[in-house]
Symmetry: none
Subunit: 187 residues, 4 copies
DNA sequence: TATGAATGAGACTTCATTCAT
DNA sequence: AATGAATGAAGTCTCATTCAT
């Protein structure tokens, strides 16, 4: 019933994957303001090829960031089931800050709304992300390890703050993340 | 000790001050990516005049941000003497986040290292800023209201995080700033 | 006499016809500046297929326009035999302007030499077209309804003017075509 | 009371004039689709200079075409007073077609609405142009040399047609302009 | 043969910086 | 010193044409 999108030809799929991979790395290393031409150059393709797969720069952002966010959502859900639900939220925020944030500048920018508005560009992913955060938050609150007056958008705001802190000083972040997160615990 | 800088002619000084003032407001409102031409236009001078006083855009950033940082340093010292030293650090961070941060986009960007690297661009101001932060921190630690294992760079990192949180969601920041700061208190 | 062109395979012939048909409609509706990719898409074939049958965009123009011109030539000859020869020229110019011109932007452009030079691109068709026009003109002149000092190229130029007038203001053209054509009658 | 637009600096005025002059010639010779870079190159300035004086391509069109149209309006008014009012309209259309049209492809395109919509881009000039045409038409109709059922838009449409005819075949136009215009006379 | 992916030369536009007036 | 005009290197995106599959 959905449109049958025929699979990409092998070479095209390879190129698309290559562009996406290069875009991942480049955005991660240098942020979202890298020129498309630079990405094309690093991928060893013409600029037109990038534009064939991703008609605007925002489409490329979307593809990269959406993939990342889905990975993050998966990570969150995995923690929900695998780890102690009480600690899952803390685990998640710690991992987002110290693992993902430390290696992906583009992702941090996207989450902070710099260069792309995730809510507008991919509302579904945003929604799923918030839903997942909600589950983590609820579990933590029910276990009594997080204050009851904290909302999901609050957690997102905290995350943005943690990532900014991490970008600014990775070393300090390693020690401070838990300090900040402690603020979320009931007194 | 210092180079002999002949004093500016009166009109030149006036122009410099005017440019700086306009740059303050403009960077505060629109961030650091505003074109120089726009600043010149709003200041009612030619672009060349801006470049005479500030040979590169970064020099203008530096001047604006340095001035801001000096203001902030003053604010910190004032709190140290005027307020209860125990609360001065919390007061300061709250004010930086909710008052300055909320009205000065350029400053937030600068503190977060977007567009300019404060440590490299104006080491002296950075140093004084850190010194002031150190006094606030020491007072708070001596009063026993802040954990002993927190360093000055840690406080700066916290500040950057708070401002990013504020930029992202002003509403949440109003409630969460104290929550985050609570994390700094001894358990 | 002619080069031995092996007949197209059935499916190739079908594709060629399909492309041509889509190109007709598309050029008619949107003019000659439509991208080839768009035509390929609408025809349901790959761009390469278009280029196999028409090695350059101009070749496609040529094919479309030549076909149109052959249709027009047929129309002229039909009028010569079916209608009163004296009125056939006027009928023809009226029909070209108000019927063909009004529905075929690409044809108007082609006749006016925008995007393609018919005389250079398809001399044979041009020649036949002129021959047909000559017959219409001669008949009209012999009937005494057109000035004797008007040549075939003159009639073509008049036609181009009429079509431009029609493109510019269809409403005015409906009233003015006969006014302009009146100029051709002997005083 | 009106904004005081300070006069351009001498060198800027020279450059602006040079760009405009080159644009005149280039548009006249090659039509309105010439790249801005090409105009800059021929004028011996950087592309940025063209954009300083004419922020968009349409602004440059406007400047060139508006100047031309004002010239034309002047020509029309001159004919109204200098020549026999009865013949002024015919003189004007003849001149537009055989003198201006023959040397200015860009103007013909503009009048026909190709590349720029004069009515939208410079409504005042359009209005003045139509007003002037109206005066010419009224004078001719009062003198009894033009049919009473012809309107100002009709005259404009005729003009577009004549210019297209001229573009297509200058030689024929020389003989046919009067033939076409004869159609406007009462029978 | 058909496909549609890849190419790469531009097109328009912006803006930090330099320089003639 | 001040002015604001000029420069030219990007940056985003389009499209006729070629070519691997």
């Amino acid at each position: 019933m959905t449109e049958t999108e025929r699979p990409l030809r092998a070479d095209a799929a390879r190129n698309r994957a290559r562009v996406l991979e290069v875009a991942y790395d480049t955005f991660a290393a240098d942020g979202l303001s890298v020129p498309i031409d630079e990405i094309a150059r690093r991928a060893g393709v013409g600029a037109g090829t990038v534009y064939r797969h991703f008609p605007t720069k925002e489409d490329l952002f979307r593809a990269v960031v959406e993939d990342r966010i889905r990975g993050i959502i998966g990570e969150g859900r995995r923690l929900l089931t695998a780890a102690d639900p009480a600690d899952a939220l803390f685990e998640f925020l710690r991992s987002m800050t110290l693992t993902w944030g430390a290696t992906d500048r583009g992702l941090s920018e996207a989450l902070a709304g710099v260069g792309i508005d995730v809510g507008k560009a991919m509302p579904e992913a945003e929604e799923e992300f918030f839903a997942m955060l909600g589950e983590l938050l609820r579990a933590a609150q029910q276990a009594g390890v997080v204050r009851g007056d904290v909302s999901v958008p609050d957690v997102k705001a905290i995350l943005v703050g943690l990532q900014a802190m991490q970008s600014y000083n990775d070393d300090a972040a390693k020690r401070l993340t838990d300090v900040v997160l402690d603020g979320l615990r009931p007194r």
